[in-house]
């Protein structure tokens, strides 16, 4: 693996670690072999600046002299829905928050946040009940599952099987 590939991996991983909900694609620029487009999709408008700032901060970490240049290209949810819809339906579960969101969408019918809609539709009612979580509509929050890590693994497995 060369230096460029390794920077590409580090950038993708760091963005995933901080904003795991959003699909990330890091690719070379057609104008310059040492510039990387850092594309992050399905970002809520309120997070657009935070994601951009993270990419700019990473520049100082991975290549402070800009020998490899990171170019932030952050796509909001609205833009992703209209121009890159394929990034909204094939997203794997990456965190407990994902499961919470799927279940929230399933129970409330609110698909305002489009990420994970496909996955939501594959969860069975019995499985949702089995997670032992309840949605409190008064406060708009899910209770925590009893054993989050095991439950998350089981959720991931069920979704993979259903797909």
């Amino acid at each position: 693996m060369n230096a460029l590939d390794s920077i590409r991996d580090v950038v993708a991983r760091q963005v995933k670690d901080r904003f795991g909900d959003y699909p990330v694609v890091v690719q070379g620029s057609p104008e310059d072999p040492d510039s990387l487009w850092v594309q992050v999709f399905a970002v809520p408008e309120a997070q657009e600046l935070a994601v951009t700032d993270l990419i700019l901060d990473l520049q100082d970490t991975v290549s402070p002299d800009c020998s490899v240049l990171l170019l932030p290209m952050v796509k909001t949810l609205e833009v992703t829905r209209k121009y890159y819809p394929h990034y909204l339906s094939s997203e794997p579960i990456q965190s407990t928050d994902h499961v919470f969101r799927f279940l929230h969408q399933r129970q409330t019918g609110n698909y305002g946040i489009a990420t994970g809609v496909h996955a939501t539709n594959t969860l069975s009612e019995s499985f949702i009940a089995g997670l032992g979580m309840r949605y409190n509509s008064w406060v708009g929050k899910w209770s925590k599952p009893l054993r989050p890590t095991e439950k998350l693994a089981a959720a991931t497995e069920e979704l993979a099987t259903a797909a």
């Binding site: 040492d34 800009c66 170019l71 932030p72 290209m73 952050v74 833009v79 121009y83 890159y84």
Partner: protein, 117 residues
């Protein structure tokens, strides 16, 4: 280069007011690029004319040091990302992001035009 930079800036900001984001982004980027290019040519002996010239300018800025280096590199990278979106991708660049960058872009542009003299 000042005339070109000024013209691009004027057209870019007019297009931004009209909501023509692709053109606005491209012109505003080039207004800043031409100011930085003028400085690079007159003060750094910069002669690159390849497709990599846009990123090469950012690398030159980053090696300058000084308090404004971080601000200028960040502004330029973001503008370049928006311009590449306008040039190569199906979606328009973010108008909100471009609005946020206006002040820093004009400051940077004016400073590099001054430094180029």
């Amino acid at each position: 280069m000042r005339e070109k930079s000024d013209e691009n800036w004027r057209v870019g900001t007019e297009c931004l007011e009209n909501g023509d984001l692709n053109v606005a982004c491209s012109r505003i980027y080039y207004a800043v690029f031409q100011a930085a290019l003028a400085w690079a040519r007159t003060k750094k002996g910069f002669a690159d004319t390849s497709g990599s010239v846009h990123s090469a300018i950012c690398r030159l800025i980053s090696r300058e040091g000084g308090a404004a280096r971080v601000r200028d590199c960040r502004t330029y990278s973001q503008l370049q990302g928006l311009r590449l979106t306008a040039d190569y991708q199906p979606d328009p660049p973010s108008g909100a992001m471009l609005e946020r960058l206006l002040l820093a872009s004009d400051t940077m542009r004016q400073e590099y035009l001054k430094k180029a003299q």
